[in-house]
Homo-oligomer: 346 residues x 2
DNA sequence: TTGTAAGCGTTATCAA
DNA sequence: TTGATAACGCTTACAA
């Protein structure tokens, strides 16, 4: 038989409400009673039933995690498991559970969200990608249900979000490449309607301008997605008109495609930079210089923000910026070599 | 205001219990009533409260997933995210939710399990690794709580499990290498007390014996873990006594270490085989031949078995074997080249 | 400082 | 075929 609050109450000669108050450490219960009740709880091995509690308080202590449509790329990318870990660890440390679901498309995502909300399983929802005109966000806003998104939303009013400073990350990369001798740098991004693409493009443009280099739209390209093939095609198109000495991309997979395109026309001394510090970038030849976006911190930040919100913490802020780290590897050593400097190690 | 079952009852002129029966499609409710109630539910946007339902039925429709102590290796390994996806998709398709937690050590794992069980959040638990004398399993058995483990448990009595046929997988690998000309094949495994290590070792021995090759304990080594450094050290020790022409390992990371050790002494034509088909193996040089253990299927199988169990399905079996796939790449082309055959592509 | 009692939204048992 | 009614286990006014 399971031990309920009533058992504890009877056994320690108080009412169920008193036991409930002891469990919540209500200050209006005498220390004497508290210790007596606690002793009984201990002895009986009492543990509150989360469902009953949730029903009574209409809040569960669970958060729902929506993983995006599983284009293969995503699961090959350590970003997601790392972000999940960050979310999980933060949630656990604050007594929250995480429920997750994998979806194949936006419809399914909305379906899961709907289900989470209406069945009352969760107190809040974490979205792991920020798209433009995201139907998930639209739905959540309509329902006025607490949620947080990883990636800056296009319409940020009162929306919780966590992101890197993408502008600055690229700004720094571009400056570094200029320091290393680049004079004709290309930018190959993912789809232009992702805020992450636009933010990174701004960093690129701003840095060029500050350093007195002319912006050249012929050196700027956007792929149809974040894939290798997309990156390759975009680079090939770009190469028909220009010969850059460096390429900044917005994703390692795009960078892999870019490198492919470069090698195919015999260009093996162009600096290339990716994003997300993928495992493949670490081991393929040449190893790829990449910006680590710190996915675990992004996840943890998202969970923290959302929990603050659903617990109505005072002074809870509405967003958080996570630092990036530039990891230099061989793919940016080409220019270095030409300018006579030492090739950096890993 | 939330719509409850009572609202629907009042609105359609029946009792709450009738509505409940309609929701569960109870055959003893007239079609006429059913359609009328359904219409009201639709109109009002009724959705059952999962907490209330769980409380009344004492079952939740949730499963708990325990991710093992996060030695870095694990998250670099696509195994886990793929297994999670398999679990998630299977669970979703059967109306179950998954809660997960990340733990740093066995104590924490047991703590999470305890919490899941006692708080009654979940109906069953999925363990993502099978260790010998696992305290999680011991605890779950003691509590008689439904669970399934990915990996064959050492004590299988009435325990649900899903695994590959590790014996056969290695048996096939060894046969292939012998066909390709190997006459002195080493085995480098992880810790010997993992059933996966022992099963794979048996496959190795059996295949050698069938093909008339002598088993040589000097060619067999076990690392302290599943890491690259462990694999390297083990191989180095082995190399002081023997010069194999092929090495079968039980993990890609072990294989990476083995290759390192081989290259350091100038051996670049030894065939090496790994397990888990990691991304790194696909892109490093040389690309690594590896056995894909099909983690998504392992996960899906685990979820299916557990759900069958908690729903008391008739004829539910207690284990499931998932096929492996051998993926040949460059690391097994050395012997091939020597024997004059064509080097296989990716 | 503590107890009583109503309520959270379902399901299940027993009657009708 | 349907309805009352009592659980399920906890929280929270409101009283005392």
């Amino acid at each position: 038989m399971r031990i309920t609050i009533t058992d504890v109450a009877r056994e320690s000669g108080v009412s169920a409400s008193t036991v409930s108050r002891v469990v919540h450490d209500n200050p209006r219960i005498s220390d004497e009673t508290k210790s007596r009740v606690r002793e009984t709880m201990e002895r009986l091995g009492y543990f509150p039933n989360a469902l009953a509690r949730g029903l009574a308080k209409s809040s569960t202590g669970n958060l729902g995690l929506i993983l995006p449509n599983s284009s293969e790329n995503l699961f090959v990318n350590p970003f997601f498991i790392e972000a999940m870990r960050g979310i999980g660890v933060e949630a656990q440390s604050r007594g929250y559970n995480i429920m997750f679901s994998f979806s194949n498309n936006e419809d399914e995502e909305v379906g899961f969200i709907r289900n989470y909300i209406k069945s009352r399983w969760v107190d809040g929802i974490i979205l792991l990608t920020s798209r433009k005109n995201d139907r998930c966000m639209a739905y959540l806003r309509k329902k006025e249900f607490p949620f947080v998104v990883v990636g800056r939303p296009d319409k940020a009013d009162s929306t919780l979000w966590v992101d890197n400073d993408n502008f600055h990350a690229v700004y720094d990369v571009v400056n570094l490449l200029i320091d290393r001798g680049s004079r004709s740098m290309a930018f190959v991004g993912g789809p232009e309607d992702f805020s992450v693409t636009r933010d990174r493009l701004s960093g690129y443009k701003q840095a060029l301008s500050i350093r007195g280099l002319k912006e050249d739209s012929g050196l700027i390209g956007f792929g149809p997605d974040f894939s290798e093939s997309g990156g390759k095609a975009t680079m090939q198109a770009l190469l028909t008109e220009r010969r850059p000495d460096a390429v900044v991309t917005t994703d390692d997979y795009i960078a892999f495609g870019v490198i492919d395109a470069l090698l195919e026309v015999g260009l093996d001394d162009i600096a290339v930079v990716g994003f997300n510090n993928t495992l493949r970038g670490r081991y393929q030849t040449p190893t790829l210089t990449s910006v680590d976006v710190n996915p675990a911190e992004l996840g943890a930040g998202a969970a923290a923000l959302l929990i603050d919100k659903v617990t109505r913490r005072e002074g809870a802020s509405d967003h958080r910026i996570i630092d990036t780290v530039l990891i230099e590897r061989d793919s940016t050593s080409g220019i270095l070599l030409k300018s006579g400097r030492k090739k950096p190690g890993e």
